[in-house]
Amino acid sequence: MNLNANSVDSLVAEIQGFSGSSQDVNHLNNLLKQSEDVIRSQAATFASCLTQLDPSIHSLGYLYILEACTAGPIPEAQANELVLSVVRFIDVCSVAQIRLVPDKFISICKRLHEQVMILGAPMRAVAPLLTAIRKIQPSSEHLTPLHPDFLQVCLLSKCYKTGYSILEDDVYEVDQPRDFFLYCYYGGMICIGQKRFAKALELFHNVVTAPMSSMNAIAVEAYKKYILVSLIHLRQFSATFPKYTSSVAQRNLKNFSQPYIELANSYSTGNISELEAFVVANQEKFENGNNLGLVKQVVSSMYKRNIQRLTQTYLTLSLQDIANTAQISTAKEAEMHVLEMIEDGEIYATINQKDGMVRFLEDPEEYKTCEMIEHIDSSISRIMKLSKKLTTMDESMACDPLYLSKVGRERQRFDFDDFDGVPQKFNL
């Protein structure tokens, strides 16, 4: 006991002593790694010492002890306190120190996530997790295991805007496919919440077309939402997969989302009453998939699609005619739809309420303004950057020994087979 108390004290002393220069911190890291078992077994004793440490200066040691404390099961009474201390730590900890042991940092963040979920207060983890991601991320292109957790709490607490901020970064570096799938899936849902359908479509598309060797539930759910968002945003859905889609996905996804495919088929006929009848008939299925809200949006997007078609054919049209052609029940309702579409910038039109006429206009954008030129300019430079990246990646892949050995092996085997064929023919 005494010995233990000693070791605790000495370890705390060492933590206090070696938290200065980076050399010292490295040394401390080695020390702590060696005494990990001790810390774990004496978690309770160490916990009491936390008060002697300053999380902003002694981040590494603090992290080790905190991780040990949270490793075991946590009684409900302490949960609140634990959440508080983790949040405080995430807030002030030193980036350089925690990056020495990212596993431990991620593990306490995961515990935080777990606890706020148990407490039923996901909102509490939104800000800390965002900070945590920014601190542990080597660059904004890296996907951390914290991304999905963060997006999940954002979704649950409806903090779509905060969640969306992280989706604006392009992610390229992925460690765990599962993290990536969940990141895209939750991300897509957040984009739907923000009505950023194009981005949502892109994220779901990434899940559906991601290389996979076996089916997973995330991909199936993402595919369902992909169909719906595609109908809402693009007003159409093409059931063919791009050819880079994994064969597993190509073979199975459609079987798992039959009602959704049928919905898309029914949508393409352009008949609203038919679509509505189909939705009512399959309401339960959509409800079970938690997609009923989106399905309803699909139905209302059908009206918009029909109105948008009219803009191609008419210069002026009375509201009553719009209602008739787009199968809307009253002229009043048609006016509402048109107004909504004008507000969303989907069509350009003016409504003359006196005669009940709508005048459709051409897109007023002349592509002459400075802003437009700036926009184009920035697009060009972004794309140039992107294609440079592509070239670099291509080169690095061409030099990758793993890739080369795999390609080489395949070719060799192929040659060998070829060779083998000849004598067999002679045997005949």
């Binding site: 290389p211 054919t313 002026t316 009375s318 005048r359 294609s387 892949m397």
Partner: protein
């Protein structure tokens, strides 16, 4: 007959009000039209054809016309025509259709049928013996003749499948190009009767391989057959070309399949629906209505053109080959007329256009809407003032839009590609590390 004359008189009046000049009116009266707005003159119609097609056309008219007196007339002529031949099966069918409505003269004549059947059996036996004799002697030409006789025999008795088989069998014994052409023509004839237009196409091309031995009439026949096959396959463009290419030598030489008038009608309508320029004088003279409507179409008298078409419709629906395609061709012609009408204008008053097409503004608006949606007319409708405005594509704007769109797509695709590549790499690493 008198009533028909009256009807024709009425019709010419109608045409007169449509603004056809006196000259064509007098032409109209001189030439008794075969196909016209009046009720079909079955006798004149039937006189154009010979052989089996005459019978099948008459039966077809009887089935489709839905007019009892006309139906009986057609059946009566079919009955008479069958009596001249040996096809007892068809005879039974027609008798059943007449169902005693034409009096005792047109009832089931069992004596005649028995006689024909008996004669047929004897003839068949004789042919079989002959063929066997030829086969043992191995004289190619005789065997060919034998099979050919068999084909003729079966054809006459209505066993089309067997006839086709026997005609085709002669192929192995053909020694000259003439024989092959003969075989092909027989096969084509039977195939058309059977409605097997795939065979028609293949035998036409087979026959056309022997270019040097084809006389102009045969070429014309083959072109007609090919045209029919294309028509049946809904390839109106090819059909139109074939009919237009058909040489005037055809005359009445192919009456067992098609009349020269038909070539004009089929070709004219298909060409009007699809092709831009029709130079088709020789045949068009035979069917003044079609000539007139084509002429009207190109001189932009759409109302009278469509009126002609409307008048012709009832009778075209009674045509054994064209009936399935009438609706399709009519919509295409109408659409083409609409497009052609709007083409030269920047703005078109819908009221005037509706007048020109003899339709209501609302109906016209619907049709135009469909065509605009289909991108066949570049225009937009001002439904408030009922004016159609041509829409001139703004190249500059379109280019900007396309460029930006392409940029966005490229951006998205490249990012997706990089991601997938990284995911694949991850998988690689995972496997590799496991192996190590």
């Amino acid at each position: 007959m008198e009533t028909e004359e009256e009807a024709s008189g009425q019709m010419t009046d109608e045409i007169y009000t449509n603004g056809v000049d006196d000259e064509s009116l007098s032409q109209q009266q001189q030439r008794r039209p075969i196909i016209s707005g009046e009720q079909l003159d079955i006798e004149a119609y039937a006189a154009l054809y010979t052989g089996r097609t005459k019978i099948s056309r008459l039966i077809f008219i009887a089935d489709k016309c839905g007019n009892v007196s006309m139906q009986l007339e057609a059946l009566r002529m079919a009955y008479d025509e069958i009596k001249k031949g040996e096809n007892t099966q068809l005879f039974r069918e027609v008798v059943q259709k007449i169902d005693g409505r034409l009096g005792p003269n047109y009832s089931s004549d069992s004596g005649w049928m028995d006689a024909v059947d008996r004669r047929a059996d004897q003839r068949k036996e004789k042919l079989e013996n002959e063929l066997n004799a030829y086969r043992t002697n191995l004289i190619k030409e005789s065997i060919r003749m034998g099979y050919n006789d068999f084909g003729d025999f079966y054809y006459a008795h209505g066993a089309l499948g067997d006839a086709f088989k026997n005609y085709v069998r002669t192929r192995d014994y053909c020694t000259t190009a003439k024989h092959i052409i003969h075989m092909c023509l027989n096969a084509i004839l039977v195939s058309i009767e059977m409605g097997q237009f795939a065979h028609v196409t293949s035998y036409v091309s087979k026959a056309e391989q022997n270019k040097n031995d084809l006389d102009p009439i045969t070429i014309a026949k083959l072109q007609c057959a090919a045209g029919l096959a294309h028509l049946e396959a809904k390839k109106y463009k090819h059909a139109a070309r074939k009919f237009l290419e058909t040489a005037p030598e055809l005359g009445n030489n192919y009456s067992e399949v098609i009349a020269a008038q038909d070539v004009a009608t089929y070709g004219g309508l298909c060409a009007l629906a699809i092709i831009d320029n029709i130079n088709f004088r020789n045949f068009l003279e035979l069917v003044p209505e079609v000539r007139e409507l084509i002429h009207n179409f190109y001189s932009s008298h759409y109302a009278s053109c469509l009126e002609y078409l409307g008048n012709l419709k009832a009778n075209l629906l009674l045509d054994i080959h064209l009936h399935d395609h009438v609706e399709m061709l009519y919509t295409q012609i109408r659409n083409k007329a609409l497009i052609q009408y709007t083409h030269p204008f920047v703005s078109v008053d819908l009221n005037m256009m509706a007048n020109a097409f003899k339709t209501t503004v609302a109906g016209l608006q619907k049709e135009l809407e469909a065509l605009i949606t289909d991108n066949q007319i570049q225009a937009r409708i001002d439904s408030h003032n009922k004016i159609l405005y041509a829409r001139h594509a703004d190249q500059r704007k379109a280019t900007f839009q396309r460029v930006l769109q392409t940029g966005i797509e490229f951006d998205r695709d490249v990012r997706g590609m990089l991601l997938r590549a990284n995911l694949l790499k991850h998988d690689f690493n995972l496997k590799a590390s496991r192996k190590i």
